[in-house]
């Protein structure tokens, strides 16, 4: 087995033995070093384990392995080729220096001010979008529940309740079908909560189409449909994505999709600036979703924290604040209480009375215990969802199948809810304050309502609130138990469908249900317990535990929960609970978002390099040989290399002269594909230098105008004559790219990469000659598995 797998994973050697033998010196050197440094087991694992998944395939097609490209079923141990890094590192070429020289002191001040303006706009628009979603969802769901309720009332009397069931299922499916179709057919990247994608973006991965206007439109429409369609989802996660898209759009001062350029904020048209604004947008999204401005800022820092500074944080906070304020203000107008700013956020946990918030020392162990339960349940949720997602990626990949699946889930959700309500015997008297929006009487006595219906026949947010705040005795334990169980599986099944929807609210709801159950049982077993075991309090703690167990966020989640509760008193218990949930959950499986990032094969860089990787050096990690350009390069060669689809490189080291026998040259700069394309488009050739003098010189602005969608090389026409021209790259390349010597260890390279947000790191030898190039994918493929260091494979997805 080892023999076969070795051939598979390193078949390049077998295919091209000449290359390996062509560099006997390096080859021998590295081998020698291995025998010196290790016991060998670590590396042995790399080779062996990276191919464990191939075993079945190997058995089937033993003979033909080497002859054609390997195909394997999708799994989590892959890296997709379609993801690239962001160019966070600034290219300090001559154009940049020129521009900086031209810019006055006032210019810089104006830039700073416009950054604030952009952040304010981001917050404002995000708040508006949140407000829009909220109002539309409320109305649509209102209409739906009203229709179903009337129908149920009618048929309770004359018989034929199964028709109501079908009506409910059909209504749900219809809403979800619309939402699913726009996602599956128009913008698949808008599926899910969007938090994994934004996490990747803030990590420095450019996810295609993730911050486009079209994505935003589909996302907003999809969320409205899926929440109104009664799925076990929330609208909070997608808000974060929406905020990020708004930020990416506003900061550019134009929309490429609409082909409209407002000619403002042109300075911000590059990845460095855009990413800062996207983190502000994500923060604004969080703060609009939960009414948690501080939580939003912390979320941004937690996810993209390698690139922040004080001023940026302060601006992000400004954006968050603006978005909460805007949402609040417009919702207050909508609710006809203009100026009442006390209900921030889409989800409102409501006010906890001052006498129910008290907790005592002896409750702390109980809270910790609940945290552990939350961690366990969260891990179970994640594992189930992991298998489901793998199945979905492998088998349900056609859009029409995806739409069908979503509709089925919607129908089943309605069916389960209906059956629960139908068979529930839990009747409660109507309260004087009419906290139930759509009370269903069904078979209850007049003046009473079905208490299962408050949990199921309602938007999830309202259900959460009633679990938190309904007075003790509103639910009986059996109702809660059945509800928790069914909702757990529904939510787990729903997350990962091709609809845009978040997992925050379902998690909160599951947690609130079993938390309340916990509270009720607690006061039942302690005779005098009714005084301190307020079920609403335990519902809150349970919700926090469940959410923490599923998403495994740390600081930001604590602050979000505290802010959404509007009660600092709960800070300690919530923090304890989240810590326990994270510790317990991490023992079994990672957080839901991390699982989905892995399943999407994104080259995501963790905080640290894998612990046992110090023995790997840049030489083993890097890609080699590197395609280099001459300082003065022939246009024909550039075009050829750029249009070579099999390589698709993005950064090219520039050397004085490439030798005939591919001997590495001395490094003098680094140029990016995007820059080359702009140069080709403007035909900046040496031969044309004279005519160009009459024209305008190429400025940094020309590069920014092409950003972010640089035209593909195929769209640039280069005539046969022009192919013979030469191009001088000196002015445009980054003259001082980051480099490392080839003996640098992986953790060192990793640290440099992560801290500076690099895209390319040139590996040089002692004479400053280019030996290799380290990119994100080269680093992200190593990770620590259960059996030591494992290596991910590159795949086309």
């Amino acid at each position: 087995m080892a023999n076969v797998s070795k051939k598979v994973s390193w078949s390049s050697r077998d295919e091209d033995p000449a290359q390996g033998e062509g560099t006997p010196l390096l080859n021998g050197a590295s081998a020698a070093r291995y025998t010196r440094q290790f016991s060998g087991s670590g590396i042995f694992h790399i080779g062996r384990l990276s191919t464990v998944d191939l075993e079945e395939e190997n058995v089937e097609e033993e003979g033909s392995i080497l002859s054609r490209p390997k195909e394997i079923p999708h799994n989590e141990k892959l890296l997709s080729l379609k993801y690239e890094s962001l160019d966070y590192d600034n290219s300090e070429n001559q154009l940049f220096l020129e521009e900086e020289r031209r810019m006055s002191y006032m210019g810089f001040r104006c830039l700073e001010i416009s950054r604030w303006v952009v952040c304010g706009l981001i917050g404002f628009l995000t708040g508006l979008i949140a407000c829009f979603i909220d109002i539309v969802v409320e109305n649509l769901a209102g209409v739906k529940y009203h229709v179903v309720k009337q129908n149920i009332e009618k048929f309770t009397e004359v018989g034929g309740l199964s028709i109501s069931l079908i009506l409910w299922a059909v209504l749900n499916s219809a809403f979800v079908m619309v939402g699913s179709i726009i996602v599956a057919f128009f913008e698949p990247i808008a599926a899910g909560s969007g938090i994994p994608q934004i996490k990747c973006y803030l990590n420095g991965v450019k996810i295609p189409r993730v911050v486009r206007l079209k994505t935003l439109v589909v996302k907003v429409g999809g969320v409205i449909c899926s929440v109104a369609g009664g799925l076990a989802v929330g609208k909070e996660g997608p808000m974060i994505h929406s905020g990020a898209v708004v930020a990416a759009g506003v900061s550019q001062g134009r929309s490429t999709s609409l082909k409209k350029d407002f000619k403002i904020f042109e300075y911000f048209r590059r990845d460095t600036e855009k990413r800062d604004f996207v983190s502000a947008g994500a923060a604004a999204g969080v703060s609009a979703a939960f009414g948690a401005p501080v939580g939003g800022v912390l979320f941004s820092l937690e996810e993209g924290a390698s690139f922040w500074n004080q001023m940026l944080t302060w601006r992000i906070f400004f954006a968050s604040m603006m978005s909460t304020f805007t949402l609040n203000f417009f919702l207050s107008i909508y609710h006809e209480k203009p100026g009442d700013l006390s209900s921030p956020g889409l989800i409102n946990f409501g006010r906890f009375d001052s006498d129910s918030v008290e907790y005592n020392l002896y409750e702390i162990p109980l809270f910790i215990c609940m945290g552990a339960i939350g961690g366990l349940l969260g891990a179970l949720f994640n594992v189930l969802n992991y298998w489901l997602t793998i199945f979905r990626i492998r088998y349900i990949h056609r859009p029409c199948l995806q739409v069908m699946e979503a509709m089925l889930v919607a129908a089943v959700t309605a069916t389960v809810s209906f059956a629960m309500i139908y068979f529930s015997n839990d009747c409660q008297p109507l309260g004087p304050d009419q906290s139930e929006e759509y009370p269903l009487q069904l078979f209850c006595a007049d003046g009473e309502y079905n208490s299962m219906a408050t949990a199921f026949f309602n938007t999830p947010e309202r259900s959460v609130r009633s679990l938190f705040h309904n007075p003790p005795g509103t639910y009986n334990p059996l109702t809660l138990g059945v509800f928790t169980l069914s909702y757990f599986f529904l939510a787990c099944w729903t997350y990962g469908l091709t609809v845009s929807a978040g997992v925050f609210i379902p998690s909160l709801l599951i947690g609130a249900a079993w938390g309340r159950l916990f509270g009720i049982l607690l006061s039942a077993i302690t005779s005098s317990g009714s005084i301190w075991a307020d079920p609403g309090k335990y519902a809150l703690i349970g919700a926090a535990a469940q959410l923490g167990g599923i998403v495994r966020m740390t600081l930001s989640l604590t602050v979000i929960m505290v802010e959404a509760t509007g009660n600092v008193t709960y800070g300690l218990p919530i923090m304890l609970v989240l810590m326990t949930a994270k510790i317990v959950g991490d023992y079994f499986v990672g957080g839901l978002y991390d699982i989905h990032i892995k399943l999407q094969s994104v080259p995501f860089l963790d905080w640290e390099a894998p612990a046992t990787s110090h023995s790997l050096t840049a030489r083993e990690v890097m890609s080699s040989p590197v395609t280099c350009f001459n300082r003065i390069e022939k246009v024909g060669r550039i075009v050829d290399i750029l249009s070579n689809t099999s390589t698709n490189h993005n950064g090219f080291p520039v050397v004085p002269r490439v030798n005939e026998n591919n001997e590495p040259g001395r490094l003098c700069g680094l140029i990016l594909r995007s820059q080359l394309i702009v140069l080709l488009k403007h035909k900046v050739f040496v031969e044309r230098a004279h005519s160009r003098l009459k024209q305008r010189r190429l400025q940094l602005k020309d590069f920014r105008d092409a950003y972010p969608r640089f035209p593909p090389i195929q769209s640039i026409h280069v005539s046969q004559d022009e192919r013979e021209c030469m191009m001088d790259l000196t002015e445009f390349m980054n003259p001082t790219p980051y480099t490392v010597p080839q003996e640098t260890s992986l953790p060192r390279v990793f640290k440099l990469f992560r801290a500076l947000g690099l895209r390319h790191l040139v590996v040089i030898d002692s004479e400053n000659r280019v030996v290799g190039l380290v990119t994100r994918k080269d680093l992200a493929r190593y990770h620590l598995g259960r059996h030591g260091l494992e290596e991910l494979q590159l795949a086309q997805t």
Binding site: A31, D778, A795
Partner: protein, 310 residues
Amino acid sequence: MAFTNIFAYVITLMLYEWLQASSVDVSVTIPESRVDGVSMTTSSVNRGVPVSPSLGPSSYLSLSLMSAFPDDLEISDYCQEELHIFAQRYVSYVNCLVSFVRPVKVCQNCHIQFRNLEEIYANISSDQVGPANVSCRDTLLRSDRLMLVFVLFDNLLEIWKTSACDRCLTKELSSLSNDTLYYMATLNQSLSCFEKHQQQGNHSELCKECKTTYRSLNELYSRMEKNKTLCIDIEDSMNMTRRLWSKNFNCSFPREETVPVIAVSSFMLFLPIIFYLSSFLHSEQKKRKLIHPKRAKSSGGLTNVQDKYS
């Protein structure tokens, strides 16, 4: 200070009555002392000492020192009169409330009393000056920490507000509103129907016969709920009727069609299983093409090592 003031007033009153009962000549001096002030009062009480030897001289003295204040701090006759009326009306309203606790009929029966009470309180609390050129507001309502009159009235007002009696009454609280009267009539219809059939002992008959009246009552109730013309009397009577209807007579809807619901539900639950099975069997599995990165040199090194160890 305000507290001691009232305290002193009460004691003065007590003394006054006692002295009136005990001796004639002292009773003459008391009003005089109230006119003259502290020093006079002290002397008058001193004069009273021999009349009641039962009281110890020292304790008597300490009480008597606080027993009266200068005239401008004392309560006027007019205010005392008002207070007296207040007390009477208060008692009558509370009496009424208590006698109509169950079933709740406080709005229909006690609104007159409440109106009277409110009237006198408004009198007391207004800053209009009474006949003796005095306003009772300050002396009676806010001279002390206890604010007894205010608190007493406020409690009753709270009860009135919670019961929402305003909604069932005409504007000036003089009589029941037309809506309420109409509701009462409908309610009586239902109840008499209940009574009629209840005697027959057959509840299913009752459910059938009284359904229309009960339903119209329910409809009227929900209409009134929407118009916000419900008060505690109506709510309570409706609650009782509903309980009678659903619990005592068992007229709510039975769960009859369990079978079709189960059938439809299980069909729905079955659909996803078919869907997943069919897509597992028929949809082709998505394969990923592996790409081999350019890593010629280092991979050579790795395989060499592997060869050694495998």
